[in-house]
Amino acid sequence: MRIFFIICLTLITYSSSAQVKLLTLDDLEKRIAQGKDTTYVINFWATWCSPCVAELPNFEKLRVANLKKPVKVLLVSLDFKSKLQKEVIPFVKKNNIKAEVFLLNEQDQQQYIERIDKKWSGAIPATLFVNKKVRQFYEKEFTEEELKSTLLNLK
C-alpha cells in the first residue's frame, strides 16, 4: 500500500513538473556544441504573444516530420520567470505541447537579445536555426511550409 502511494506521488510530481525547465544561454550554447550533427530549431515565444501561440502548431508539425532526423525543436519561452507555474506550465499542458519547452533564465534582456542575434530587435516571435556550422536567425512568423523549406535550405 505504501509503495503504491509512493509510486502515485512520484508519477504525479513527475507529470506536473516535467514539462518546462529553466534555461540559460550558456546551457543552450553547451547543448548546441554537444549536439554533434543535430540542427536545433529554437523558437522564442511567450504565452502572451498571440502570433507566437498561433505558429506553435507549425513547430509541432516540423518536430513530428523530423523525428528520425538529427533535428530538435526547442521552444524557449520569454515569459517572466514569475509566470512559470501560473502561466507557462498550464499553457504547455493545456495545449499538449510535446516539444521540449524551456523558460529563458536570463535577467538582462539588453544582453541576451544581442547574444542570441545582433540584428534582433527583441520582437517575438523569432526563430534560430542552428547547428555546429550554421546559425540563421529570423525575426518573423513561420508557416509550416516556410519552416520546412528553411530547414531544408540551411547552409
Partner: protein, 201 residues
C-alpha cells in the same frame, strides 16, 4: 579592378540595407501628418516650442505595450512641459488585428486618459520610415538647425515586469542629458516586445 567592383557592390548593398532599416541615431526625421484619436492630423512641426519629442510606437493589444502605458503617460506628464512631448503612434494594421482599429484606439485613449496624441499610421508608412519593429519601441528626437535628429532608439527602461532592483530609466536619462546640452550616454537599447502586425497581402 575586381576588388574595386567588390567594394562598390558592398557600398551599394550597404546603402540599400540602410535604406530599408529605418532611422539610425543621428539621422534627421522626415515630418509626418497622421490622424490623431480626435480625428485631427498631428505633425512634429505643430509643436512650435518643442525642444524634442518622445515618439513611442505602441498599440492597443500588446501585453508589453500595455504594461508600459502608465509609464508613457508619466513621461508625457514629466517632460511635455519641459519641451519633450510624447507622440504615440500605433503601427499595427486593424485588418490583421481587429482590436487595433481606430475606434478601439479612441476608446483606449479615452479610458486611459491619454494626455498625448495617439496616431494612426495606415499602410505603416511612418513606421517603416522610422524602422520601428515592435511595440513598444521608442525614438527620442531633438530639434536642431538640421531638423529633428534621432538621439535615442529603444526601450523605455529595463524593467518590463516592474520588479527590477537595478532599473535604468533609459528615456528619462536620454532627456536629462539632452536638456543640459549633452548627447545621451546610452543611445541604443533592446527589449522584448510584440512584433508589428503588418498589413497582409
Amino acid at each position: 579592378m575586381k576588388n574595386l567592383f567588390l567594394i562598390g557592390f558592398m557600398l551599394v548593398s550597404g546603402f540599400a540595407i540602410a535604406q530599408t532599416e529605418g532611422y539610425k541615431v543621428g539621422d534627421v526625421v522626415k515630418d509626418f501628418a497622421l490622424k490623431n484619436v480626435n480625428s485631427k492630423n498631428v505633425s512634429l512641426a505643430d509643436y512650435k516650442d518643442a525642444k524634442g519629442y518622445i515618439v513611442v510606437f505602441t498599440c492597443n493589444t500588446c501585453p508589453v505595450a500595455k504594461g508600459y502605458q502608465e509609464r508613457v503617460s508619466a513621461l508625457n506628464s514629466a517632460y511635455a512641459s519641459k519641451g519633450y512631448p510624447v507622440i504615440a503612434i500605433n503601427p499595427n494594421d486593424a485588418g490583421t488585428v481587429p482590436d487595433e482599429s481606430f475606434e478601439k484606439m479612441q476608446a483606449l485613449a479615452k479610458e486611459k486618459n491619454f494626455s498625448f496624441p495617439y496616431l494612426l499610421d495606415p499602410n505603416h508608412i511612418v513606421t517603416k520610415q522610422f524602422g520601428a519593429l515592435k511595440t513598444p519601441h521608442v525614438f527620442v528626437l531633438s530639434k536642431s538647425e538640421k531638423g529633428n535628429v534621432v538621439e535615442y532608439i529603444g526601450a523605455i527602461d529595463n524593467d518590463a515586469e516592474g520588479e527590477n532592483p537595478d532599473k535604468i530609466n533609459y528615456v528619462q536619462n536620454a532627456i536629462s542629458d539632452l536638456s543640459v546640452g549633452k548627447k545621451p550616454a546610452v543611445t541604443l537599447t533592446k527589449a522584448v516586445g510584440c512584433s508589428i502586425k503588418w498589413k497582409k497581402g
